[in-house]
């Protein structure tokens, strides 16, 4: 009879975490950010049909980086959870906090059960409030932990760098065009600091807009509206952009 190798629990968990992190790092990063009228989701996504962002319920949106089939599975699970809960109780009883808890439990159980491969995903669950103070953003890494975020959050391969870039520049009460522009700027920075152009047709943008008259606040921003928002910002911030670049250049 052969003796199994002993692997310490610490080592086993570290290996699993590294496996998951590597998988997530292969995916493109995305940004979720508060602006004056709600929450905006911005990511680079060459596909028109396979979405990184989607609606879960009236005020709740979902964003994911990592392995598509795994987060798609979680997304549909979330839609079923929310719809069933809203049908059983009331639409107001479906909350981002509840959903984030369920996702955290699900990811945590998968992560720590030896028989299953850890999910290579990182999720964001966001709920738009009636005022900016009521907005909630939760980040859920692969291991089932849950982080309550404010202002802006980035997930995916390049997340740390993008987050620190956003932390310095994000402020409360930005207009949608400003927030969008900032997110795109953050996403177009490579690990080595150089910038590249992300054309509008490769951007996936969605918002949870609290000013929408319908009870369902999630809306995709595509085509002309997206182009208009990206263009609207340029004349106003062109000088500041240049100033920023100069300042960064000086730091380097």
């Amino acid at each position: 009879m052969s003796t199994p190798f002993y692997v310490s629990p610490q080592q086993a968990m570290a290996d699993r975490a590294e496996y998951a992190r590597k998988g997530i790092a292969r995916g493109r990063s995305l940004v979720v950010m508060q602006y004056a009228d709600g929450i905006v989701f911005v990511g680079e996504n060459p596909s028109r049909a396979l979405h990184k962002f989607s609606e879960i319920y009236d005020r709740i949106g979902f964003a994911a980086a990592g392995k598509y089939n795994e987060y798609e599975n979680l997304r549909i699970g979330g839609v079923r959870y929310a719809d069933l809960r809203g049908y059983t109780y009331d639409r107001d009883d479906v909350t981002a906090r509840g959903l984030a808890n369920v996702y955290a439990q699900t990811l945590g159980t998968i992560f720590s059960s030896a028989g299953e491969k850890p999910y290579e995903v990182e999720l964001v669950v966001a709920e738009v409030g009636t005022s900016p103070e009521g907005d909630q953003i939760y980040r859920l890494p692969h291991d089932g932990s849950i982080v309550d975020e404010h202002g802006s959050v980035a997930v995916g391969g390049n997340a740390e760098q993008i987050s620190s870039f956003l932390d310095q520049r994000h402020r409360d009460g930005m207009s949608l065009a400003e927030a969008l522009k900032l997110a795109v700027q953050a996403l177009s920075r490579d690990t080595n600091g150089s910038e590249r152009e992300i054309p509008a047709e490769r951007l996936e943008v969605a918002v949870l807009d609290r000013t929408r008259p319908q009870s369902r606040k999630f809306k995709r921003i595509v085509g002309r509206q997206l182009a208009r928002l990206l263009a609207a910002e340029e004349p106003a911030t062109a000088p500041t952009d240049a100033a920023d670049d100069e300042a960064e250049g000086a730091e380097d």
Partner: protein, 281 residues
Amino acid sequence: MEANTRSTGRLPAAFLTPGSSSFMDFLAEHSPELLPGRRTLPAVQGAIEVPHGTTIVAATFPGGVVLAGDRRATMGNMIAQRDIEKVFPADEYSAVGIAGTAGLAVEMVKLFQLELEHFEKVEGAQLSLEGKANRLSTMIRGNLGMAMQGLAVIPLFAGWDVDREKGRIFSYDVTGGRSEEHGYAATGSGSLFARGSMKKLYREDLTEQQAVTLVVQALYDAADDDSATGGPDVARRIYPIVTVITDDGFRRLTDAEASDVSRSVLERRMDQPDGPRAELL
């Protein structure tokens, strides 16, 4: 089977199993007791006394469709409720009005709305208008057992067909039989009178405002001859619910708008109690 929605634990396996995009199919597998059609009823003698909704009318016009309903619910010869709502948005581009057993109908509408929304979220695309109409058919068919015991629900479904770019109306019978109506349609106890009224007034080139007036006239005529249908209640400020669906989506007339149309119809009826006259030939 447990409807594990209260616990904050891990999502049950059924939630993460790839399956159909239908919420009803999911319910049938996971919590069948929540489906209205799955209930078993005891055998009863005679009709059960529960509130019934009455008249729903709809009319198309170039550019959209109007769906409206009166506000009365009756229980036998009694008025059970004076301000019941029987017309609901189904999704962005469609609406459903219900006549029949009020309790079941409202539950059916709630499930129907969720069914369309669930499909849209899972698939990332809307069902076609035909698809929506067929889905409603399936739900009515599921209610046949209860319909046989006197708890029938007969909806009227109207929407803007995004592909064909026109407003369309679908009517149903208790078995779930679906038929597309051209121009105008009505359902419920006052529908005979409403249909007669619209038959004389309807034209294919109505404007949106004229179509709104048409359905209010029809509801007035239904209330005039059917005791279960309520007319505009000026004293309590309860007016019919009128909804308009165009390529801009669903819109419900505000109380002020509904009041304006109802009052102008009422005003004309002071002189002409039977309403507008059609040409003899």
